[in-house]
């Protein structure tokens, strides 16, 4: 039984460019009493139903912090 899965799974998340594919940029108004507080773009996106996609979002967020730390 293969018990060392971390390397193979992590290697699949090396390239996260698929996160930006087909993303709709919405113009969000930041002022006004009736401005929606939640980002409905995420809710509308069907890809968010996939757990692996949400994991990729987490990974990208942490990686950005790490790269910022290494470069800065």
């Amino acid at each position: 039984m293969e018990t060392r899965t971390a390397k193979s799974i992590y290697s699949k998340f090396q390239d996260l460019s698929f996160l930006d594919e087909g993303k709709k940029e919405k113009a969000i108004t930041t002022s006004g009493l009736l401005t929606p507080k939640n980002n409905s773009a995420k809710i509308d996106d069907k890809r968010y139903e996939q757990p692996a996609y949400r994991v990729a979002e987490y990974v990208r967020e942490i990686r950005n912090k790490r790269e910022g730390l290494n470069s800065g």
Binding site: T3, K7, I9, Y10, A52, R54, V55, V59, L69
Partner: protein, 178 residues
């Protein structure tokens, strides 16, 4: 395929799963966290503590790869019923990335476990051995006729030596020995 040829001494004994009541083990119960978000926040919270960071840095300085620690954490979380095995596998990149962040922020030298291996894989070795065996078998078939001739010649020489008259050796206590 080559995995089947390996001896698996750490495999479970047949019937081992029936040595306890069904549902007595933590992993046979519903997991504590059932979504990626819940499990991620649980791990991030526990990994953000200073105690964990100190221990992680100690282990990384000993040369243990980050991926190995992530594997162990996932296995442990599944065994104690924190999450299911599939959720554990899903969140593994987050664990690896977060531990890399901790290691980078501490400034230590560590092994990520993501480096390319210099040694060929087991499958490549098995393929090479198969190829070598096939080539050797085919070359032996070619040499078979030559070997037959050589064998015949050898037998003829043996027969000739057996037919050669042997000198009578002197027998007795005072006979000269070679």
């Amino acid at each position: 395929m080559d995995n089947f040829q390996e001896q698996q001494f750490d495999a479970p004994i047949p019937g081992m799963s029936m040595t306890a009541e069904l549902g007595a083990r933590p992993w046979q119960q519903p997991p504590r966290f059932s979504t990626v978000e819940q499990t991620t926040s649980h791990y991030i919270e526990s990994m953000s503590s200073e105690e964990f960071s100190d221990k992680l840095i100690d282990v990384l300085e000993m040369g243990v790869p980050v991926t190995t620690i992530a594997d162990v954490m996932m296995m442990n979380g599944t065994m104690d019923g924190t999450h299911s095995a599939d959720i554990g596998i899903l969140i593994m990149p987050i664990l690896v990335e977060f531990m890399l962040l901790i290691a980078d922020s501490s400034g230590i030298e560590y092994t990520s476990g993501l480096e390319e291996e210099d040694t060929p894989s087991k499958a490549a070795i098995a393929r090479a051995v198969d190829k070598f065996k096939k080539e050797r078998a085919s070359s032996q078939e070619d040499k078979g006729s030559d070997m037959q001739e050589a064998g015949d010649q050898f037998e003829a020489v043996v027969e000739n030596t057996e037919q050669m008259p042997q000198e009578d050796k002197p027998v007795g206590l005072m006979a000269r020995r070679a």
